[in-house]
């Protein structure tokens, strides 16, 4: 059974305080690992896709990395507008859908 575990469940940072969110996964035949951002009352919004270990993707203050067992979402000098829930998801080799983790609720305080 495919599993995705995200940690921490919640994280509170000061503006400008860099940190990382973790996503560990167990999947048979990883086709892709995905990061999404979800704001309260909204649907998830796509951020990144990572396909193989060693791959990195960047977007503004966010950088996603992938190893054979986990992915990290690094947030550099965050701003209050980066506050959201960040979701990690995987697609297994034979699956048509994504398996999501429970998310990390990130709060950036001014």
């Amino acid at each position: 059974e495919d599993q995705v575990t995200q940690s921490p469940e919640a994280l509170r940072l000061q503006e400008g305080e860099s940190s990382s969110l973790n996503c560990s996964y167990t999947v048979s035949g990883l086709r892709g690992l995905f990061w999404y951002r979800q704001d309260p009352g909204k649907g998830p919004e796509f951020l990144f896709t990572l396909y193989s270990a060693g791959e990195e993707k960047e977007k503004e203050r966010l950088k996603a990395t992938l190893t054979k067992k986990e992915s990290f979402l690094h947030i550099t000098a965050p701003k209050p507008e980066d506050s959201a829930t960040y979701l990690c998801a995987v697609q297994a080799g034979s699956a048509d859908g994504l398996t999501f983790g429970k998310g990390t609720h990130l709060i950036i305080q001014p």
Binding site: R31, G41, K42, F46, Q91, L98, G101, K102
Partner: protein, 114 residues
């Protein structure tokens, strides 16, 4: 651009009532999905479709039915609602996961079953 539109956004049902959630996408995507999101459980796949006229079961399909009669629409039905189906339901669409993995989500439909 509308993207993915879900109706209704809010609904309250009594146990045993039936209802249908409608999802419409204007991006000509082949794949469409219904997920439910519950506190502490994350997003779970209910049913999905890989093209017009096709449907398939996801992780938690019991108590739900779906139909994809037109490429742009994906309907989720509850024949006899139960309190356990109180949740936020999200529809999503994609070209095909093997391309970019990007799912486009609607804004959700919040369902309460009393």
């Amino acid at each position: 651009n509308a993207g993915v539109t879900q109706t209704p956004k809010f609904r309250v049902l009594k146990t045993g009532q039936s209802m249908t959630l409608l999802c419409a996408q204007d991006m000509n995507h082949e794949y469409m999905y219904w997920y439910r999101q519950d506190p502490g459980m994350g997003l779970r796949l209910i049913h999905y479709s890989v093209g017009e006229g096709t449907t398939a079961k996801g992780e938690v399909p019991d108590g739900y039915n779906v139909s994809r009669l037109k490429k742009q629409n994906f309907l989720l039905g509850l024949e006899s609602a139960a309190p356990s189906q109180t949740s936020v339901y999200f529809c999503a669409s994609s070209e095909a996961l093997g391309v970019t993995g990007e799912l486009f989500f609607g804004e959700g439909s919040r369902l309460t079953v009393l």
